[in-house]
Subunit: 339 residues, 2 copies
């Protein structure tokens, strides 16, 4: 099965539940590995915009809505178990793409993998200390266990800021060729981790001290918007559209408060997991094979290393001390304290 | 796909990893829905033996070994992700059997399902109060979420004391037609929950007061043996045979204590989940459709109800107050306090 086969299947599924946030799919042909979709202009890649310091005030809310809708409608809250298992089966065969994520996100940054790289010599001590950090590696492998086993919802699978096209008022998610059934916190963690990388890189892009101060604040506001919107839309969908095999209606008759309690518990558990996955995505971009333009475009190695170190320190604390990041306000407070 | 198709597939897999604890498989034919296996005599069904008050001193250890081996060898600790996904796919089609479990274990005891039954009128108040117990229903649905989504290892899927044939020295697990990839704590919880039901039913089988006192203690010793053996064998397999994609060897080089830390963390999390699943299995046998001979064979309704109430109270506390059951000693202490 080709990448384009799964890209097309995932795009079709996303288009069903969140059509305004993906390109229109015109045609697909698995045999030809062909996907024909809408040309998006004047959109630019979100990551490039963030490097330039441009504002996309709706991006966080749009992405939160996209995630709430795609995760809810492909989960046990909406689908019967039999239908969901059929969908899981369809995407199980995308294991080669999943394997790339498994290696690059959860394993390679934590040992001396041949293709790892980092800003040298400034980050040598960090890389070394991460490899010896047993508590950190334990936290990351436990998240990998969830990535390998928990088929909760259909994920985009690679939702970083380079997989999002934006204009001032429009947001489109592209490139879902890593799609698979996985844990709900993964896509959320991926995109929030990438916003945090963008935030940490801003000091490296300042031409004058304090120039990007306001912009940094607005990036953290995006994180807050994204999560708050996700939580709000997800809860509303659960209240209004739940028809799956989990928390079925018949259980509510004698316990009407069950649903609201369940929404609170589930959102907290998605949040807790998101913090871990976000941190994994941050570390891989600093110590692993594939880096991000946010940092790479900082020509001065000292300044780049300083931004990377701040982001890595935050990420490491998010993994080792996850309970301190109990909600989005706590996460934003910690990010704001980055030097 | 017929029940016998999945029974044969699961039996073949179990026979590969724990041959001494399953019947020998001679022949299978999916088209004819045929499985030909070893005739086991003079074995009897474990549940029947427990009702009679007979001792099978090795059963706990054998079942602990069976579970450690079947769960380890079908998990990400032993298999590569690609191979495990292929296995998951094979058993996804067994969704009709899973649906029976989903309904009977996690849903029906918690609302007025038409086929529910319980000892009346003695348990009317319990049934009513369980239906209104929001915290209990929340805990149970969160376990159902794990049952629906967490494809950690190949499970037997219906491992109660009626699915085990025993002699003094031999233990064989039969009837794996509910097999699927699910959470590791489920089979463990099922069998331990059934030992706890057997334990709670003993007072109802006494002809003279105190007659089964020693036997009750030996049943709890079986629970302890089962868990302790599971933990020991599972940990040793992890140390000696791990070759899967999780906690891969290359991560141990710079953090040699990672594996022991991971074993501790993982066993605790399996234990925590087991407590919840065990309790679900107990409640379903008291308030749901299918009851167990342990209680059904107590002719006197007052005595039966008293045993059932004690078991249900324990199970409910295990679900509502799971942190109090932090290890097998705490669980056994609580069970011993049953009146």
């Amino acid at each position: 099965m080709s990448r384009s086969h799964f890209e097309h299947l995932a795009l079709a599924e996303q288009a069903r539940w969140a059509p305004q946030f993906v390109p229109v799919l015109y045609h697909a042909d698995s045999a030809m590995a062909l996907v024909v979709m809408e040309y998006l202009g004047p959109h630019i890649v979100l990551r490039k915009g963030l490097v330039r310091g441009e504002l996309y005030p709706l991006a966080g809310r749009h992405l939160g809505t996209f995630l709430a809708r795609t995760l809810f409608y492909t989960s046990d809250l909406y689908l019967t178990a039999a239908v969901k298992k059929e969908r899981i089966g369809t995407f199980l065969a995308n294991s080669a793409m999943c394997k790339i994520s498994e290696d690059l996100i959860f394993d390679e940054p934590y040992f001396s993998a041949p293709l790892n790289r980092h800003t040298q010599p400034q980050l040598d001590a960090l890389a070394e200390s991460v490899r010896r950090d047993t508590a950190l590696k334990l936290a990351v492998q436990e998240l990998k266990a969830r990535f390998l086993s928990d088929a909760e919802a259909l994920l985009h699978g690679d939702l970083h800021t380079g997989s999002v096209l934006v204009t001032d008022g429009d947001t489109r998610v592209i490139d879902p060729e890593f799609a698979f059934y996985g844990p709900m916190g993964f896509d959320l963690g991926a995109i929030i981790g990438n916003f945090l990388l963008a935030h940490a890189s801003q000091l490296g892009h300042e031409r004058t001290r304090g120039e990007r101060e306001g912009y940094r604040t607005s990036l953290l506001a995006q994180v807050s918007d994204l999560w708050t919107t996700f939580a709000h839309v997800f809860a509303d969908l659960w209240r209004e559209c739940a028809q799956g095999d989990l928390y079925s209606q018949r259980l509510l008759r004698d316990a009407p408060e069950l649903r609201e309690r369940a929404i609170t518990v589930r959102l907290q558990s998605i949040w807790d997991q998101l913090v871990g996955f976000a941190a994994c995505k941050m570390i891989r971009r600093i110590l692993g094979l594939a880096h991000v333009e946010d940092f790479e475009s900082i020509a001065d190695a000292e300044r780049r290393a300083s931004c990377e170190l701040a982001a890595a320190d935050l990420a490491r604390d998010m993994l080792r001390n996850r309970r301190a990041y109990v909600n989005v306000a706590a996460l934003i407070r910690a990010a704001r304290e980055l030097t």
